[in-house]
């Protein structure tokens, strides 16, 4: 993901204004590898700006996604998660227990639809989701890690 400064430029260049709350969100996303939901971003942003509204967070996340600076991803855990890592192609590890998501930067060269098996589909991309237990849920295999359980 780009730095807050670069994002500021991009926003300006696209005709958007750069407000304090937007910059706050830029900062929150910077280096975040937890694939936060909009709620989680809002919670983190609120720590820096108590009055920032959930609406604004949703709006800015969509702006960022529209500009291709972050990716919105749905791994079947109910809410949309946002992935600041949009530079190197990767897959995902998803915890069955707490729903946490981590990047898996691995290339699978053999991952393609065999000839004749595509059922007429014009295939564009492949995403792999590995499901299992994250380190915390694996250890305390009945009680998920508190922070993770809090819908992180």
């Amino acid at each position: 993901m780009r730095t807050p400064e670069e994002l500021t430029e991009r926003f300006r260049a696209s005709g958007r204004k750069v407000t304090a709350q937007r910059q706050c969100i830029f900062r929150v996303l910077q280096g975040d590898e937890t694939h936060p939901s909009a709620e989680a971003v809002h919670a983190a942003a609120s720590r820096q700006m108590e009055t920032i509204s959930l609406k604004t967070v949703y709006q800015t996340l969509h702006d960022l996604a529209e500009l291709g600076e972050i990716a919105a991803l749905d791994v079947g855990t109910g809410r949309t998660r946002f992935d600041p890592n949009v530079d190197d192609p990767h897959h995902h590890l998803v915890c069955r227990s707490c729903g946490s998501v981590r990047d898996l930067v691995v290339d699978f060269p053999d991952l393609a639809v065999p000839d004749g098996a595509d059922l007429g589909f014009l295939v564009g991309s492949a995403e792999v989701v590995f499901r299992g237990l994250c380190p915390f849920c694996r250890d305390s295999s009945r009680a998920p890690e508190p922070a993770a359980a809090a819908r992180t």
Copy 2:
């Protein structure tokens, strides 16, 4: 997926009663390869039983999933889809345009998390989603196929 008769036995064996509406749903799912949503199952069932309620459909689909006779799957299209093919492991082709889903029965032997890349996760399974355009949306590349557009 098992035959309606087998499902009838399984339901009885698990202490569930086998009603006309449940059998109707068994029949609807039988051989259905479209990965129908609950709504779609309800629509199809309604053609055989006009009074069957959506509630009952949801309930029965969950019963079937609980017994492992069908799989509930979420490919990021908003609604949960139900897959009667639970016997051979497979992946999915998803249409970006109309959201239709098809099975892809292919084994990817190299699909594993490399040593040391698992970030501490205890990985259990891998699902691949290939995204692209289904035959209908590919041809009429602006207007999705009517039946498919109707939330099939």
